[in-house]
Symmetry: C2
Subunit: 248 residues, 2 copies
DNA sequence: GTCTATAACCGGATAGAC
DNA sequence: GTCTATCCGGTTATAGAC
C-alpha cells in the first residue's frame, strides 16, 4: 500500500502541492470549522482547482486522516519530555492525557465533526478501520511506552492489554472533551486528572489477591477479543469490503 | 417544544401523513440502508413531494430521532418479561442488554450511520443533546428499573449513579456491535455476556472494605460530573446555541 | 505517466407559490 | 400542507497540459 520513500526524489513534483492543500485546509478547518470549509473554498484558497484537490485527497474525510497523523505527532512531541524524565505511572499517564487535550484544543470545534465520521464503521477514518491500522498501532505504542517506562509493578497479563485499554480510555476522554462546553474545557481536564488516579489505583489492586478472580475475568474478556478481530491491532479481515450501501 | 396531545383531536390532519412518511423511511432504511435511502426516494415512495417530507421532518437526521424512539419502545417490550419475573441482577442486566442487541439487529447496517451522526456534538441526535434529553431519561430509567427490581445489595451512593453508568455501558456494547462483522454478531453477544458478569462482580466488590477507597474515588468523579452539565440528565445550558459552523 | 482544470452529477436542504 | 424550482456542496467524469 505505502511504497517506501524514494531516496533523493522525495517531494518530487506535486508533493508540495499536496502539502500545501493540506496546510490550507487545516488552517481553514481551525478558522471556520469543518463544515464551514467547502472543498471549493479550500481548493481556491490553496490556488488549485477543485478537481486537483481531489487528485491529492480522495475525499474530504481523507483530509481528516492527514490531520489525525499530524495531531498524533504533535501529541508525541508534547509528551516526550515527561516520558523521558518521569517514572511514576500516574504522572506519566497524566502527562500524556493532558498533552492530548492541550494539543487538540485548537481543533475543538473541528474535532466534533471528526468524531462524527470516526464513528461510522464504513468510514476509512474510523479508528478500527484497516486504513487506520498504522496510526492505531502508533497510538497504542505510545501507551505501551507509558507503561513500560514506569516504575509500577503490573501483572504481566494485564500489562499485555494495558496499552490498548489506555488508548480506548483516551478516546473516552476525547469524546467527553468534544462535548465539553465549559470555559477552557476545564471539566475535561479535571475529569482526566481524576480518572487517571482512578485507573492507576485499579491497576494496583488488580494484583491484590482478593481481586484476582475479577481481574482474571476481565483479562479473559480481553483475551477473547484479541483472538478475533474488531479491536485487534492485527486484523485478518482484509477480505470484507462493504463498499456500497445499496443492494438492489 | 412538544405541546401536550389534545384530547380527541389526535391524529388531526397530517399526523397520518407524518406517520406514513416515517414508516416508509424506516422500511427503506432497513432494506437499503440510510445512505441508500435518499429523501427524494423516500418522499416519492411515501407518495409525497420532497418539500413535503421536509415539512414534517426538519432533516434526514430527524427521521433517525424518530427511529430511536421506536427502537427504545421495542427494547422496553422485549425485556419487560424478564424485568417482571427475574430478581437476579445479573440475569436482569443480561436480559436487557441481550434485548437491546436483538431488537437492534434488523437495523445493524443502518445503525452504523446512526452512531455517526450521534457522535456529532452539534447534532440534535447526539445522546447528550438537549433534544435527546427525554429519551435519555427514559433509557436510564430502564436501567434504574433493572437495579431497583433486583435482589442485589448495592452501596446506596453507587446505586444513585448506576443507571447512568449502565446506560453508558450499553452504548459501549452497541458501539462494539456496530463494528461487529462476525456471523450473527455472535461476538457482541458474547462480549455482552461476559462484561455483564464482570460488572455484576465489580458492583459486589465495591462494597468490600479494602475496595472502599477506590469506590469512593470513583463515586467522587461521578458526583463531580453530575454537578455540571454534559452527562447530566438535567442540563442547564439552554443558552448555548451553536447554530452555524461559519463565523465570517 | 504525472498533474491540472472544467463541467457535470447527485442528494440534502430551502424558498416561495398555490 | 403541499408542491415545484433552486441552491449548495461533496464527488465524479473527462479532457487536456506538462
Amino acid at each position: 500500500m505505502t511504497p517506501a520513500t524514494l531516496p533523493t526524489t522525495r517531494t518530487k513534483k506535486g508533493e508540495q502541492t499536496k502539502a500545501h492543500i493540506l496546510e490550507t485546509a487545516l488552517t481553514m478547518f481551525r478558522e471556520r470549522g469543518y463544515e464551514g470549509t467547502t472543498m471549493r473554498a479550500g481548493a481556491t484558497e490553496a490556488g488549485v482547482s477543485l478537481g486537483n484537490a481531489y487528485y491529492y485527497f480522495e475525499s474530504k474525510e481523507h483530509l481528516i486522516q492527514a490531520f489525525y497523523e499530524r495531531s498524533h505527532l504533535d501529541h508525541l512531541a508534547a509528551c516526550a519530555d515527561a516520558l523521558e524524565n518521569e517514572v511514576d505511572l500516574r504522572n506519566r499517564l497524566r502527562a500524556v492525557i493532558r498533552a492530548k487535550l492541550s494539543t487538540s484544543m485548537p481543533y475543538h470545534r473541528f474535532s466534533g465533526l471528526l468524531f462524527k465520521t470516526a464513528a461510522d464503521p464504513r468510514s476509512p477514518l474510523n479508528p478500527f478501520s484497516d486504513e487506520s491500522t498504522p496510526l492505531r498501532r502508533e497510538s497504542t505504542e505510545l501507551f505501551a511506552e507509558v507503561v513500560r517506562g514506569s516504575s509500577a509493578r503490573i501483572h504481566p497479563d494485564l500489562e499485555l492489554h494495558l496499552p490498548k485499554l489506555l488508548w480506548i480510555y483516551q478516546m473516552g476522554i476525547v469524546l467527553f472533551w468534544i462535548h465539553d462546553t465549559s470555559p477552557g474545557c476545564d471539566r475535561s481536564y479535571r475529569l482526566a486528572e481524576r480518572t487517571v488516579d482512578l485507573i492507576v489505583q485499579l491497576i494496583k489492586v488488580a494484583n491484590f489477591p482478593p481481586m484476582r478472580p475479577i481481574t482474571r475475568l476481565a483479562l479473559n474478556v480481553l483475551a477473547d477479543l484479541e483472538d478475533n478481530a474488531a479491536l485487534s491491532a492485527t486484523p485478518d479481515r482484509s477480505d470484507q469490503r462493504q463498499d456500497s450501501d445499496d443492494e438492489e
